[in-house]
């Protein structure tokens, strides 16, 4: 039997997939946060009517195939170098909208220098920074953001601060830089957070269009595969463990 049949008709539609997302089957793991952020990003561009003039930069990481899903012009960048690639794009086309989409391994490990310097130059680009506390793509290795004692395939007994360093708060760090106009930390594991996160992304793009400088949106998500949890459990763990260390909200605005 089917419920709600009488309601399902075009004039009653209140939510549907944005057209800037392609119909391609997403390769992400069930419950992965990447996909939600993909949608918010595309919705934001659609709401601002920027889909035609935006160039996105996809990283190396689970979202390496983002260009299959986002129906906008995109470049795939070498691991960690998305901010440099985006700088190259933006400098030759200052009127276009440019964003990078990067994981925590990409942005906070190998790409640290490019991140810091793009922010310090105040490149008019938007960073979408997916912090899932781990390297998803390559099989769940420790990232700079991995929490203390958190297990990963390269910290199988838990992250030991003394030998492996401290979970890095990139957004707080870049907020210190004069070039950064807006730095915020968001999440997408509840409907309310999803709504807030979208607002933050919209705000970032608006500031970019106003040439205010670098806008930096961190989004704390799960990597349930890397964490070796079921999706719902992963989101609970995230709320309980990640959020206290990576508190949500605007850091610089």
């Amino acid at each position: 039997m089917k419920f709600g049949k009488d309601i399902i008709s075009p004039e009653n539609k209140v939510f549907e997939k944005t057209k800037l997302l392609t119909d391609e089957y997403l390769h992400y793991c069930p419950g992965c946060g990447h996909s939600v952020v993909h949608r918010l990003l595309m919705e934001a561009l659609e709401d601002l009517n920027l889909g035609d003039e935006t160039i996105g930069v996809a990283p190396v990481g689970c979202s390496v195939f983002a260009y299959h899903y986002m129906d906008i012009d995109m470049q795939q960048a070498a691991h960690g170098r998305a901010p440099a690639v985006a700088t190259g794009i933006k400098r030759v086309m200052p009127d276009k909208t440019v964003f990078t989409y990067q994981g925590d391994g990409d942005l906070a490990a190998i790409g640290t220098a490019e991140t810091i310097h793009a922010c310090n130059r105040g490149e008019n680009i938007t960073f979408i920074f997916i912090n899932n506390g781990i390297y998803g793509m390559t099989g769940g290795q420790m990232a700079p953001t991995t929490l203390e004692n958190m297990k990963s395939s390269t910290s199988p007994y838990g992250r030991d601060l003394k030998s492996m360093g401290h979970p890095l708060k990139m957004t707080e760090l870049v907020a210190n830089l004069d070039g950064v106009a807006y730095a915020t930390r968001q999440a997408v594991h509840t409907p309310a957070l999803v709504r807030k996160c979208k607002k933050a992304i919209v705000k970032a793009f608006k500031l970019q269009k106003e040439n205010k400088g670098t806008t930096f949106v961190e989004i704390v998500t799960n990597c349930n595969s890397g964490w070796k949890m079921r999706p719902v459990q992963a989101n609970e763990w995230l709320q309980k463990n990640m959020i206290p260390y990576y508190p949500l909200g605007d850091i610089k605005k």
Binding site: D52, D73, Q75, A78, V85, G88, V92
Partner: protein, 356 residues
């Protein structure tokens, strides 16, 4: 009508040539002996002359990836560096080649390995022509031998790069970069107006999205892309071989050398002829594609071939491949910033083939 003749350093001449070639952007990082390129550009303020963007990157790694980004937007983009900086760019270069993006890279080679010395060298031949990065890719490599050629090849390099959607490298060295010579400049070219159909500039008007990538996770697809690249390289090998023959018609012996050493060999040829020894010079201008055929042909006419390089034997392998056992191939090399002199070179040839 006065010709636009200037006396300029090779490095500065490349910078000026870039502005005139309508280049859209330069991204680079200082390193001796090539920092004059970015210094000249910063002083010239090309953003006022043509709208060209110049940015000092935080590193060579960043610079090559800025190049990737701007090249992916279909723009004419240039970076320059010297040996250690070029080594740092290898991942980026492989990406650019894999994503089939046009751009021009200049390596003003210095002596290595490691931090080495800032003096001139040709020890990056293998890196440039065989592939310093990973995977089966080819840079198209041009080796100017004068400041004038540095200028002319800068423009030519962009033409070739866009023709094949392939990175082109100018391989020069500290001598060519620091030396001043007379140059005649071509007229200011306009910057490109239309977008390349494949470029990522926002999909407005196009209807479909473009994307730039070198990722082809499925082996079948990656193999296909590689075959496409190989096809392109065969095309390049057919069309873009460039070389210069000097005094080869009646030569009994042949020097093979490029860039600075070719200039020195030219002088050695003069010295040789003064002594009654008929020596000619084959100067490869394109190092990839390499002028195998002409060298093979010349090998039928001469008694000996001598390769001169400012390294310990790199291009000599290509000469041997060209000659394929027909003749013995001699080699003389200097390295680490030591530049062979004309008489040393001649002596090496005499010792190898004449006084033996």
């Amino acid at each position: 009508m006065e010709k636009d003749i200037k006396l300029m350093k090779g490095n500065e001449a490349i910078a000026e040539a870039a502005i005139r070639a309508g280049v859209d952007a330069y991204f680079g990082y200082p390193i001796t002996p090539q920092s004059e390129v970015i210094e000249y550009l910063m002083a010239e303020q090309p953003e006022k002359r043509t709208g060209m963007v110049v940015l000092q990157a935080e590193s060579e790694v960043a610079a090559i990836n800025m190049i990737y980004g701007a090249a992916g937007a279909g723009k004419r983009v240039l970076t320059t560096s010297s040996s250690p900086g070029i080594s740092l760019m290898q991942e980026g270069i492989s990406y650019i080649a894999g994503a089939q993006l046009p751009c021009v890279l200049v390596n003003v080679v210095r002596g290595g390995p490691g931090l080495g010395t800032i003096q001139p060298s040709q020890a990056d031949y293998f890196q440039s022509v065989k592939g310093g990065g990973h995977g089966d890719y080819k840079l198209i490599v041009l080796a100017p031998a004068s400041v004038q050629e540095s200028v002319d090849f800068t423009r030519l390099a962009f033409d070739i790069a866009f023709k094949y959607r392939n990175p082109v490298m100018l391989l020069t060295d500290g001598v060519l970069g620091q030396m001043m010579e007379k140059v005649e400049f071509f007229e200011q070219q306009e910057r490109k107006k239309e977008d390349e159909p494949w470029a990522t500039v926002g999909k407005a008007g196009r209807g479909h999205r473009n994307y730039i990538t070198s990722l082809f996770i499925k082996p079948e697809k990656m193999y296909e892309v590689n075959l496409e690249l190989q096809k392109k390289y065969r095309e390049v090998e057919k069309n873009e071989v460039r070389y210069q023959e000097i005094d080869t018609e009646d030569a009994d012996y042949l020097f093979v050398a490029y860039g600075t050493t070719a200039r020195i060999c030219q002088k050695a040829c003069q010295l040789a002829r003064e002594k009654g020894i008929k020596v000619g010079l084959l100067r490869p201008i394109s190092l990839y594609p390499y002028p195998y055929d002409i060298i093979n042909k010349l090998a039928d006419k001469v008694k000996g071939v001598m390769v001169i390089e400012m390294n310990h034997g790199q291009m000599v392998e290509d000469v041997k491949l060209a000659i394929n056992g027909k003749l013995e191939v001699g080699f003389m090399g200097r390295s680490g910033g030591i530049i062979p002199t004309p008489s040393e070179i001649l002596e090496a040839l005499e010792n190898k083939f004449i006084n033996k």
